[in-house]
């Protein structure tokens, strides 16, 4: 794209910004269903530049030719894609006056998680007093970032303000042709985050969507792009431990990470979408494509996830290890209870010489849930001395749940070393009695044992996240034994 084009684009986008973005969007919603018109409507609503509309349309046309995958170990009713509203203007949620108006069950969970009162209000949409000015916190945060030249904003803002960066990197890690849900997301994505760390910058703060202005209600088709230039570093946190409810059942997100020479990106997720009730009614279907590319030499991408929510989870965060000596890591705890189903794992594609990957997956199944690990380790011909170590452990609570492991290994290079370890264990009655005999009641004992089991993964989380994640694991499994 030429500089001139850029200027023109900037001009258009900025001038459009002047006109009330806010004034006319109050109740506007696209009609149900998905056609090219829907795509054009979304793009127009978001006042997107032409390249974005084209990208969406290409993705949509491709999606129409695709079949929904059915290889996952998941069982859910057929999704009617024409029965979904793909664009609803981000309307202001009705603010509640006090916490008394919030669902007591939700408050109970907040308290168990140790979430502060102010935070509870923010999460449940209660007006926050002027004293706790969260906006000023955010502003300070943004000031610090811009001092370092770091861009951290909503994806749609990036499309307007940094179209050249978006255009350069969007779809390069997860092309719209990648899979059914990625194509769908590429066609209709609502919003998400954009993050750019310039050359040589070590981001001084943990980036969390919490601090991003406009972060609320990014919707069901979230899209995130993180670019780390040479020798930069960033730690990014997605989600929160508080239970997230959403009236949209289908979620299909994309996260793309690009790490250039010597860059390092650490991406941590705590996913706690509504899992449905005890019988599996309601609950989010979560189909996510997360992938990073270690494009430069010595680059590193590390995924850490704690998955406790959603009725259906379909998610395989992976790394394309293209740079020589690049490193990919995946640490995961996936908990399923009641009727939840998770099919999750990682993909590590070794292309660069001496590239290294580690997969540590800890599945915990309780109730009548099904928990599957599915992973691919692929070593291509030129990946001399590639190394992978995978460890997939399953912990079962009770005898009506299922744990499954589907590891795929493909190696085209004889110098590679690939190790795979797997274990399956149960919390034994003897362990519980031992804890009970020391005065520890069964629920706390399960929390203790489960956290011990997941420790290797929890240790990878940023401190403030780790403490909450520990409590979350315990709460998720409450009532699952006995």
């Amino acid at each position: 794209m030429s500089k001139e084009d850029n200027n023109i684009l900037d001009e258009i986008t900025q001038s459009e910004y002047k006109y009330g973005f806010v004034t006319d969007i109050e109740t506007e919603t696209a009609p149900k269903g998905l056609t090219e018109d829907t795509i054009r409507f979304i793009s127009a609503k978001k006042k997107e530049p032409e390249f974005m509309l084209e990208f969406r349309l290409k993705a949509f046309r491709h999606w129409q030719k695709m079949m929904e995958p059915n290889w996952a170990h998941l069982n859910y009713p057929k999704i009617d894609y024409q029965d979904i509203i793909y664009y609803a203007a981000p309307k202001q949620k009705k603010e509640l006056e006090s916490l008394d108006q919030v669902d007591p069950e939700l408050l109970d969970t907040f308290n168990k998680l140790g979430i502060s009162l102010d935070e509870q209000k923010r999460l449940s949409g209660v007006a926050v007093d002027a004293v706790v000015d969260s906006v000023s916190v955010k502003t300070t945060f943004q000031d610090t970032l811009s001092k370092h030249g770091i861009i951290f904003c909503a994806f749609s803002e990036a499309v307007q303000n940094h179209p050249e960066l978006v255009r350069k990197y969007m779809g390069t890690v997860v092309p719209y042709t990648d899979n059914y849900f990625a194509a769908l997301n590429s066609a209709v994505f609502s919003d998400g985050s954009f993050c750019y760390i310039p050359k040589g910058v070590r981001c001084p703060l943990e980036l969390s969507t919490y601090f991003r202005i406009n972060a609320a209600n990014t919707g069901q088709f979230e899209r995130t792009l993180i670019v780390a230039e040479d020798s930069s570093y960033v730690s990014y946190m997605e989600g929160c431990t508080a239970p997230m409810r959403d009236e949209n059942q289908l979620h299909a997100a994309i996260v793309e990470i690009v790490a250039l020479d010597n860059a390092e990106v650490k991406y941590s997720t705590v996913q706690n979408w509504y899992p449905g009730d005890k019988n599996g009614v309601g609950g989010i279907y979560n189909f996510v494509t997360k992938r990073g590319i270690c494009k430069g030499a010595n680059s590193k991408i590390s995924w850490t996830q704690v998955e406790t929510g959603s009725a259906i989870t379909w998610k395989y965060p992976g790394c394309i290890l293209m740079g020589d000596n690049s490193v990919g890591e995946f640490y995961s705890v996936a908990v399923t209870n009641n009727r939840q189903q998770a099919d999750t794992g990682s993909k590590m594609i070794h292309i660069g010489k001496n590239s290294k990957s580690t997969i540590i997956s800890k599945g915990i199944s309780a109730g009548k849930s099904q928990n599957s690990y599915r992973g691919l380790v692929k070593v291509t011909r030129r990946a001399e001395n590639a190394r992978n170590f995978s460890q997939c452990d399953s912990l079962l609570l009770g005898d009506r749940c299922g744990a499954h492991t589907f590891p795929y290994i493909e190696s085209d290079n004889k110098s590679s070393v690939i190790e795979h370890e797997a274990t399956t264990s149960k919390i034994s009655d003897d362990q519980l009695f031992y804890c009970n005999q020391r005065g520890i009641e069964t629920e706390s004992a399960i929390g203790l044992i489960v956290n011990g089991y997941a420790k290797e993964v929890l240790n990878q989380l940023p401190m403030e996240f780790a403490v909450e994640a520990q409590k979350l694991l315990q709460i998720t499994l409450e009532g699952s034994v006995g």
Partner: protein, 252 residues
């Protein structure tokens, strides 16, 4: 009386193991329960501690003036009953420190006390580690994981020292211990013994009893206490074995 067991019958899966057992333990006493394998010694310990699946079909267990038969295992523990396990289980990933802090705090909560301050807890850990001569590295490791047999048993005594129970039941704590570990365990018990607590030591051999002198020795056979006596009885058993007891019992 700290513990008063009257006509206790315990079944596991419908099979009666304890068949009418009586035992009284006063504050400040050490009782030894001896007997051949498979006579119900460990069943008695588990039944007092409240393990699930151990059904009390008859009789009663009065502890510290309370009928504890309806108490959950954790509440019995919080009331001051401690069981040193014959086979302590491993809990991977849970550090001894974290485990004990959780235990101490749940005890305190039961007695309406707030969580123990961190400094106080660490001081206590250090103190008790010395008492049972436990390697300080053991407490940073996961509960019993990779511990040797002797370390596991010492660790039981260490936990007992931290929790300061009123009634401690040692279920074959001496089995499989070398002489040094045995002495450490014995020293631990002797140091913790006061006029406000009591010990029930279940053992096969009298060698632990050379170091911890019991006030009473009972012989358990076929789910009943068939003989009781002073510490001399332990030596007699060591010398003559259990056969004469069996014979005596069967003749009667």
């Amino acid at each position: 009386m700290l513990l008063n067991i009257k006509d206790l019958h315990v079944s596991i899966d419908g099979k009666e193991i304890i068949k009418g057992l009586n035992l009284g333990v006063n504050y400040g006493e050490v009782h030894a329960i001896m007997g051949p394998n498979g006579t119900g010694k460990s069943t008695l310990a588990a039944a007092i501690a409240g393990k699930e699946g151990y059904e009390i079909t008859q009789g009663e267990i009065i502890y510290n003036g309370k009928d504890i038969m309806e108490f959950a295992a954790e509440d019995r523990a919080r009331e001051g009953i401690f069981l040193s396990f014959q086979y302590p289980v491993e809990i991977p990933g849970v550090s001894m420190t974290n485990f004990m802090r959780t235990a101490v705090n749940e005890h305190r909560a039961y007695h309406n006390l707030g969580p123990i301050p961190a400094a106080e807890f660490l001081k206590k850990m250090e103190e008790k580690k010395k008492l049972v001569e436990i390697h300080s590295k053991l407490t940073s490791r996961s509960v019993n994981e990779g511990f040797s047999g002797g370390e596991k048993k010492k660790n039981e005594i260490f936990q007992m020292a931290i929790l300061e129970p009123k009634l401690s039941i040692l279920d074959e704590t001496d089995s499989g211990l070398d002489i040094d570990a045995l002495r450490t365990v014995a020293n631990g018990v002797n140091m913790l013994k006061t006029e406000e607590n009591a010990f029930v030591i279940i053992t096969h051999y009298q060698r632990l009893l050379e170091h911890v002198v019991p006030d009473f020795v009972h012989v358990l056979y076929d789910g009943r206490i068939v003989k009781s006596g002073g510490k001399g009885l332990a030596f007699e058993l060591e010398e003559k074995g259990y056969d004469w007891i069996k014979k005596e019992f069967e003749e009667a």
